[in-house]
């Protein structure tokens, strides 16, 4: 190339530059006419998107009841039938299967990994022919109403991060819980009750803690926080008026208090103050709504019988299931149950049998009860723990007794109602039950699917916080289309 020509070409003068620049600006100006909200901030857009408290598209489900089995039940004793483990009972897990995948600190120094097959029998049930263990006779009865997902997997290997991950979509704390996201995205259906309620119960098995950070609203408005219902006389603490105070007096007191709070709000503009006013108002309405819900006297005998003898004993899993149905009937968006005691590191067969006695009948009854009320179509019920358990034994190993460590790579949960395909067994693990060989479902995928059933697009349900947009599924999550009817 000749240098003078090149120099000449590079010799852009001011007039030349400006004439080209004006063309560029002109094209941008014309283009800007086609982007109506160009000069609005995008935070405004994302807020407007959900401010009406309406689903993005027609929902299949209106409410969720999450029966969380805290501590991680063993899939091998309940749903994931693996005869090979019985055949190879006591033999070591082949290294080709584990392939160096991580272990917890509790088994990493074990010299042997003896395979342990379930000592409980399995049979196929329903027209789906799903395998269910003898520990769950009632669940076996409803297999044609539920969708069993055998290919769940999670990122975390220990309880706290795994639980937090399941509830909030992140292993670190302080992100909003699933129920808070739904309350934020859909609003409350019944103004007299919180949109997100939490019920706790505990079995006799080895337990793991539950803590209020699991139902936190994170950075969302405080009104979206989960409200814990406790067992005993007062399901919601401090809700009743003290002796000698009647409702009109309470009303006057609240009106005065609201006035004071309003003054503070006008002075400082802190949205937490308005949240507080709203919460007081709701508590006032809850004073009449809650007794109606906890009143079991209008429940027909047949319903009580279906949930089992424990359902009238407050604080049991069965009682919580019944309460969950009543709350859900009253329009509570998200009811989160936790049942503790599934952490079977040792004496697993004995412990899991007890746990199943606690939950089997009531879980199945809940699905049946919703179904006979015509509510199962609009209520999504989910049953499962935070991860699964290993196919090999942890600690003492005999023919009758063994323990299982944490296993995040494959475990089983089930879902029912809310537009989930009934009678489907989804996903598959290998013959050792160690790795997933078909249709894996990650926790993010489950979250995306739950939101989708409630009419929310998990990529559009966002909240801007500290300079970036957050989602329940963060930057992952893919709708599991195959399980949606």
């Amino acid at each position: 190339m000749e240098k003078p020509v090149f120099d000449f070409g590079m010799n852009t003068n001011r007039r030349h530059f400006l004439s080209k620049l004006s063309l560029g600006i002109g094209s941008a100006a014309l283009g800007s006419l086609l982007v109506p909200d160009l000069f609005k901030s995008s935070a405004e857009n994302s807020v407007n998107d959900i401010v009406a408290g309406l689903p993005h598209f027609a929902p299949k489900a209106k409410r969720v009841i999450y029966l969380f089995q805290n501590g991680a039940p063993s899939q091998f004793e309940l749903f994931d039938h693996k005869p090979l483990l019985n055949k190879m009972f006591g033999e070591d897990l082949p290294e080709s299967i584990r392939a160096g995948q991580r272990l917890t600190g509790m088994t990493s120094n074990q010299t042997r990994f003896p395979l342990a097959g379930s000592i409980f029998d399995f049979k196929q049930y329903g027209s789906s022919g799903a395998w269910v263990s003898e520990l769950l006779p009632h669940t076996a009865r409803i297999v044609d109403d539920i969708c069993i997902i055998k290919s769940m997997n999670t990122d975390a290997i220990n309880h706290d991060p795994a639980l937090t991950f399941f509830q909030t979509g992140a292993q670190v704390g302080n992100r909003p819980s699933m129920g808070s996201w739904l309350s934020y995205g859909l609003g409350s259906e019944n103004q007299n009750l919180p949109g997100f309620c939490v019920l706790l119960s505990r079995g006799k098995g080895n337990g793991q803690g539950v803590y209020s950070k699991l139902w936190t609203n994170g950075f969302l408005d405080s009104v979206h926080q989960g409200v814990q219902f406790s067992s005993g006389e007062n399901p919601v603490l401090y809700l009743g008026d003290p002796k000698g105070m009647d409702r009109s007096e309470r009303r006057r007191m609240l009106d005065k208090l609201a006035k004071l709070n309003q003054g503070t709000f006008e002075e400082f503009g802190d949205p937490e103050v308005t949240a507080k006013i709203e919460q007081y108002e709701m508590a006032f309405r809850m004073q009449t709504a809650v007794p109606e819900i906890t009143d079991m006297s209008r429940e027909p005998e047949s319903v009580l019988k279906m949930y089992g003898p424990e359902c009238l004993k407050p604080g049991t899993y069965a009682a919580n299931c019944l309460l969950a149905r009543k709350l859900s009937e009253q329009g509570v968006r998200f009811i989160q149950l936790y049942h503790q005691g599934w952490d079977g590191h040792a004496s697993l067969p004995k412990e899991i049998a007890g746990q199943c006695m606690d939950v089997d009948q009531a879980s199945a009854a809940l699905v049946t009860d919703l179904k006979q009320r015509g509510l199962l179509d609009e209520t999504l019920v989910i049953w499962g723990g935070e991860f699964g358990r290993t196919n090999f034994c942890q600690g003492k190993f005999t023919k009758e007794d063994y323990g299982r460590d944490h296993h995040p790579r494959a475990f089983t949960i089930w879902m029912a109602g809310g537009g989930i395909k009934p009678g489907l067994v989804y996903g598959e693990t290998d013959d050792f039950g160690y790795n997933i060989i078909k249709d894996p479902v990650h926790v993010h995928d489950l979250h995306a699917t739950i939101l989708h059933q409630l009419g929310l697009d998990h990529e559009r349900l966002v909240f801007k916080h500290q300079g970036r947009r957050y989602r329940l599924t963060d930057v992952a999550g893919k709708l599991v289309k195959d399980i949606i009817s």
Binding site: V5, S19, S32, L34, V35, R285, E292, G354, R373, G374
Partner: protein, 483 residues
């Protein structure tokens, strides 16, 4: 590049520059662009406009490939320059119109995305190349490579565009789309052969067993051809335990030479194998409807999985209610909600029996042409309130569980022409009150457990052909302690 509007090439160059700037801007704000209606025709011109850059740039590429050094016979000082400039200009008009056209497409496929970016690349790339080509005469070898690259880019982009308009297999060697597409059907109308079996055969078998290839003398595209079978005879034999040729072939081990589909081809899944066997067990029957099968039949299950999602959501044809009115009628104890953003349909739930008054239902009458579902469960609703409820003529679902109704005025509900689901559980209704319900044409499901009816009466109701009576669950499982 020193060209001004006085010279036609300068005008064209500047227009191309302008259009490319506009295009980049629009792509940058793509999600938020709302093109006005008058711009749509520009987008629709894309199929016509796109041929200009295709032809001009291919001509340019061809010319550059054969052009020789100055002074030779194949030398022309201006031709390459003119062709490239025209190519760059027409490429950006095509890209711009293509962008507008893509805004009309709601579902952006992978191909569309690629086509869009390659098209944009061609447009911007050719203009940039025009600016750069001043320093690289067309007869030099690197210029020939770039020109060849442009030709290849054009062909790929064009091929994708062709796939978009004519379908993926339009230019494929063996077009699988040569057969009629399966219409989407709901499970109620589905026919086992047409909607379950044939799609599997088409996907996994037709490629070899068609009119052109007919491997093993077998063609499968029609009922007659299937029934005829191939060289080895009939495809099925329901009297044989292995159900005949077809089913035994698909069950052979993969290594077996006679295994179908052959090793290396897309295999049948277990569900599909089950489908074929169950279908052959039916005779095979080419007209069997899915909903006429017993519920336990594996075919019903397969159909539910394949076709389950095809039920169209109900489309409501009425106008949305006044938003202010909806807001006004929402109270702490009565939730009036839209089903979803943009849906005119409303549903109503009542809460707190202590504050419920009969008038609460009547208050909603201004919204009677929008309310499609009403849940009054546990409210002290009386028989006479049904007269009010009967005025909500758009109702599809009415829940009266555990209310105080006795059933005497249930006939009022016959005035609801669209009612599909009615829940009466936990009320005092009796067998005699069910009579008027059976005359309601639209009614499909009624919940009546825990009512005044006896077990025998409920059992009789369950026999009803038209309405499904949900009579509740009675347990027959006895729980035994395991340890």
């Amino acid at each position: 590049m020193r060209r001004y509007l006085s010279d036609w090439k300068g005008f064209v160059l500047n227009s191309a520059f302008f259009l490319n700037g506009l295009l980049i801007f629009l792509l940058f704000f793509e999600e938020r662009v709302v093109a006005p209606a008058w711009m749509f025709p520009i987008g629709r011109l894309h199929p016509a406009v796109l041929h200009f850059p295709l032809v001009v740039l291919l001509l340019y590429g061809f010319w550059v490939l054969i052009v020789e050094k100055e002074g030779s016979a194949r030398w022309n000082a201006e031709l390459a320059d003119t062709l490239l400039l025209l190519g760059a200009f027409t490429a950006c008009t095509a890209a711009f119109s293509g962008f507008l056209l893509s805004r009309e497409e709601s579902d952006a496929s992978q191909t569309l995305q690629w086509h869009k970016w390659l098209g944009t690349g061609t447009s911007i790339g050719s203009l940039a190349w025009y600016a750069a080509s001043k320093y690289l005469p067309a007869w030099r070898i690197p210029a020939k490579f770039v020109a060849a690259g442009f030709s290849a880019l054009l062909l790929v982009t064009g091929h994708m565009g062709g796939n978009l308009t004519h379908g993926e297999d339009f230019l494929a060697w063996s077009p699988a789309g040569a057969y009629d597409p399966v219409p989407l059907v709901s499970i109620d109308q589905a026919v086992v052969y047409d909607h379950l079996v044939q799609p599997v055969l088409r996907q996994k078998c037709y490629a070899c067993h068609n009119a052109d290839k007919a491997k093993g003398g077998l063609q499968m595209q029609s009922v007659a051809l299937l029934t005829k079978g191939g060289k080895s005879g009939m495809l099925w034999d329901t009297t044989s335990p292995d159900l005949g040729l077809m089913i035994s072939r698909v069950h052979l081990p993969l290594e077996d030479k006679k295994h179908m589909p052959p090793k290396g081809k897309a295999q049948l899944t277990e569900e599909e194998m089950l489908l074929l066997s169950e279908w052959v067990k039916l005779g095979p029957d080419f007209t069997q409807k899915v909903n006429a099968l017993p519920a336990q039949n594996p075919l019903s299950r397969y159909a539910a999985q394949v076709l389950g999602g095809n039920e169209a959501a109900e489309a409501y044809d009425f106008e949305a209610a006044d938003a202010a009115k909806v807001k006004e009628l929402n109270t702490n104890y009565r939730a009036v909600r839209h089903y979803a953003a943009g849906s005119p349909a409303l549903f109503v739930n009542f809460y707190n029996q202590a504050v419920f008054k009969s008038g609460d239902i009547g208050d909603l009458l201004p919204l009677k042409s929008q309310i499609v579902a009403m849940d009054l469960s546990k409210m002290p609703v009386k028989d006479e309130d049904l007269k009010t409820i009967a005025q909500f003529t758009e109702l599809r679902k009415l829940v009266l569980n555990f209310t105080d109704i006795k059933g005497n005025t249930l006939a009022e509900l016959a005035k609801l022409p669209k009612l599909k689901e009615l829940a009466l559980s936990g009320t005092a209704v009796g067998r005699v009150h069910m009579e008027p319900l059976s005359r309601m044409a639209s009614l499909q499901k009624v919940y009546v457990w825990s009512t005044a009816m006896t077990a025998d009466e409920l059992a009789a109701l369950r026999q009803d052909k038209k309405i499904r009576f949900e009579t509740g669950f009675t347990t027959d499982t006895t729980l035994t302690s395991l340890r």
